[in-house]
Amino acid sequence: MYPDYMAESLRKVAQTRPRRLDLAKTPDPVFPPMNADERTAVLNGFHPDFATDARRPVRVGPNRGEVLTTEVADLLESHSWLRSDRVNLDRPDIETDLLIIGGGGAGCSAALVAMQEHGMRSVIATKLRIGDANSMMSEGGMQAAVARDDSPPRHYLDAIGGGHFANKPELVRALTEDAPKIVQWLEDLGVVWDKEPDGSLQVLHGGGTSRKRMLSCRDHIGAMIMRTLMDEVRNHPDLITVQEFMPAVELLLDDAGRCAGAVLYNIDSEEFLIVRAKATVITTGGFGRLHIRGFDTTNHYGATGDGLVMAYRAGAKLIYMDSVQYHPTGAAFPEQIAGFLVTEKVRGAGGQPLNKDGELFVFPREPRDIEASAFIRECRHHAGGIETPSGRLGVWLDIPIIDQLHGAGFVAHHFAAHHHKFLRYKIDITQEPILVYPSLHYQNGGVEINAQCETSIPGLYVAGEASGGVHGRNRLMGNSVLDYNVFGQRAGRFAAAYAAEVKLGRMTMAHVEAHERELAAAGIDTALVTPVLLPSYAPEDVQSRQWAKRGRLNPGATGLRNRLHPELG
């Protein structure tokens, strides 16, 4: 239920709706899309990445000297949980063909393909439960050029344009050319795609698509695909072992510089376990729970950039870690769901962002960074936002207009999860607009890979949000679900082929010691120990009394840091 003071603005939204509906019924855009110069101007002026202290040079590691997102640079300039003189690597606790770190969509896909195509055994080690991942949460859809008026190269051009032409071409080709086969592979496993009556895949627009290319599973594509993949993984306990609540905290190399496994940490027993693996796949997802620039996030609880920091310490190069994706439509009201994702499919189906006067101020389907920046400009510069009781700003997202475009009942069916979510707070999205503001959504960059998911470290593969290059500096809607499927499968395929050949040498953690020496040499004084694992939401006064943590944030390890790092007190 909206507070009374918003009534006037809500009235204006209803008042302008018939005029906006007429606009939406013409073939022309409801608002002029921006040209290249306008895009540059709104990004430079209003995207959070361009704020004065948003980025700084990182002082250690493979990307030393490169300007990165400030919080990422902080993360990379941190201590390891481990010291090699306290770890015995000679007797591994677990041996396997593939160690897959992260149990989301990419990790499950990798394990399944490694098994199906090469008969390889995998251990999936994951911090929370299998499927506790951003993969589970995607709502709107997956891009795949399946329609007859579309083509994979057209998908390629859209993805590259959306990424500001920084995307690695071989990765974009893999992404777009594999897409139709992914659709078939998932359907064979049992994913229920939205279809037209003749069986054609239903396609919608997303931000930055030149053809309708967005496949969907109502507004629950993430859960549909993720639950299918999890179920199939669990059908093969003989070849795929799932270790839950068992995050990796450091990669292991062998004496020839190949990745040879990792050290896992059992959150329940506080044991560390040595895994020796012929190949290692990082599928740890992104970093939304670092709350970059204080933004709320759409991300799941464990999205703390763990794979990034482990790979970096082992010597893997990162790409585009100066770029953060803010989803244009995070919920801004009510407070309890602030930052939650409102799917871009809403705008794909005709939903319109409006200012406090009920007027359009941006084309509804610009690429995400452009759209988000335009929202921020409208709120912060043009005073067009609506303030919530807790002091947030937001713009309206007109959803009722969708039913007027597509027929009554469309919203309740296609956006049932959203309908349900807002009804808890007495807001009926079939009747009223909602308030939205950009929310921290996606790690555009990551560990640099090639089309085989190889990194600069032999034996280390990365797939999904933890990898970088495929989306350039801005990902389009529907290319992330596709990304974790395409590259999850590729990582499983190529890591398995590599594992069939490799002969590992003696394991070492020398890279961790080298990293600690580099920190000291650079004069970096930090108490941060990573991977972070989980964010803490304890209020500040509680944190001040959590003496064993000493103000550091990685949880699940009370007193642990003091044991491993007595020098940090």
């Binding site: 040209n35 361009f50 704020a51 919080e71 902080d74 929370l128 439960r129 506790d132 050029a145 399946v146 007859r148 083509s151 994979p152 190269p153 344009g161 032409f165 920084a166 071409p169 050319e177 139709p180 078939q184 998932l186 049992g190 229920v192 795609w193 003749d198 069986g199 054609s200 895949l201 993430g222 639950r227 199939e232 669990r234 059908n235 709350h291 970059i292 620039r293 204080g294 933004f295 709320d296 799941h300 609880y301 309890q336 602030a338 939650f340 921020i376 919530t388 807790s390 947030r392 700003l393 049932a416 349900h420 503001y437 941060l528 803490s536 939401y537 304890a538 209020p539 006064d541 944030l553």
Partner: protein, 260 residues
């Protein structure tokens, strides 16, 4: 420390109050004046938490680090199954901690995990009818139609109805009725017949997708064209273009673009 969840948000473009330094219940300070508080009993322990908090927000406000019991935090993953009672009511209630609001006098606990035996099967060897249910989860035939599952579903699904559909082998009905199941496990925890409803729902969805969904005529054609190398030349052309040339092509008026 920039990694802290409540960042300083001091930069010019960082949102000033709401989005910059979140003031949600998650980040609130115990010292904040004026906030209305309620008492909830978390595993028996009385805690003062903001009246507008979700159960998850309340647990975290009390200083707990949730390990099991939080996942997506937005109502998709089912990690945060919670049982509770409210004041002056004998009934046991169920909810997701991330989407249920606290009430004064509420007494609650999260359910870290609900034991359930997943059937091991090959989807290729099943038929999309009652035989698949009988082979994998014959326990559904023990249903006594008490409707406890439906009453315990935080998603407001008609769980018992899809269990009945499972007994008939009506796979499309299971798909539709269980579409928004988050597999929190509360129904199976409460079920007197010990049925594992979410596992049945997942199986039925997979059977529908593989066998009953009408096949797309254009998908096979597109895959065949890709495998025959039908787009190789166009890809080679695009991949050889400079960013400047790609930009001109990308921003070209739609009409010109449609001709190629």
């Amino acid at each position: 420390m920039a990694i802290a969840c409540a960042s300083d948000g001091s930069a010019d473009l960082a949102p000033a109050s709401g989005q910059g330094a979140p003031r949600s219940v998650h980040e609130a300070s115990h010292d904040a004046p004026h906030e209305e508080m309620v008492t909830v009993y978390i595993m028996g322990q009385a805690c003062q938490v903001p009246a507008t908090a979700t159960i998850m927000g309340g647990i975290e406000y009390a200083g707990h680090q949730i390990i099991r019991g939080a996942g997506c935090r937005e109502g998709y993953c089912g990690a945060c199954a919670t049982i509770y009672r409210v004041a002056n009511d004998y009934r046991v209630r169920t909810g997701l901690a991330c989407t249920t609001l606290v009430e004064d006098g509420m007494t609650l606990t999260q359910i870290p995990s609900v034991p359930a035996g997943k059937a091991i099967y090959s989807i290729a060897d099943l038929k999309p009818d009652v035989s698949a249910i009988a082979q994998t989860y014959p326990v559904v035939f023990r249903c006594v139609a008490c409707n406890t599952c439906t009453r315990s579903c935080p998603q407001d699904l008609k769980v018992m109805d899809y269990v009945q559909a499972a007994k008939r082998g009506d796979i499309p009905a299971i798909l539709d009725l269980s579409y928004y199941c988050v597999a929190c496990g509360l129904c199976m925890l409460r079920c007197p017949a010990e049925i594992t409803q979410p596992l049945v729902a997942t199986l039925a969805k997979r059977l529908y997708g593989r066998y009953l969904s009408k096949k797309s005529p254009e998908l096979g054609e597109r895959i065949a064209a890709i495998e025959a190398g039908g787009f190789d030349e166009e890809y080679r052309g695009l991949m050889a273009m400079t960013p400047e040339a790609l930009s001109r092509r990308y921003y070209a008026p739609a009409d010109d673009d449609a001709e190629d």
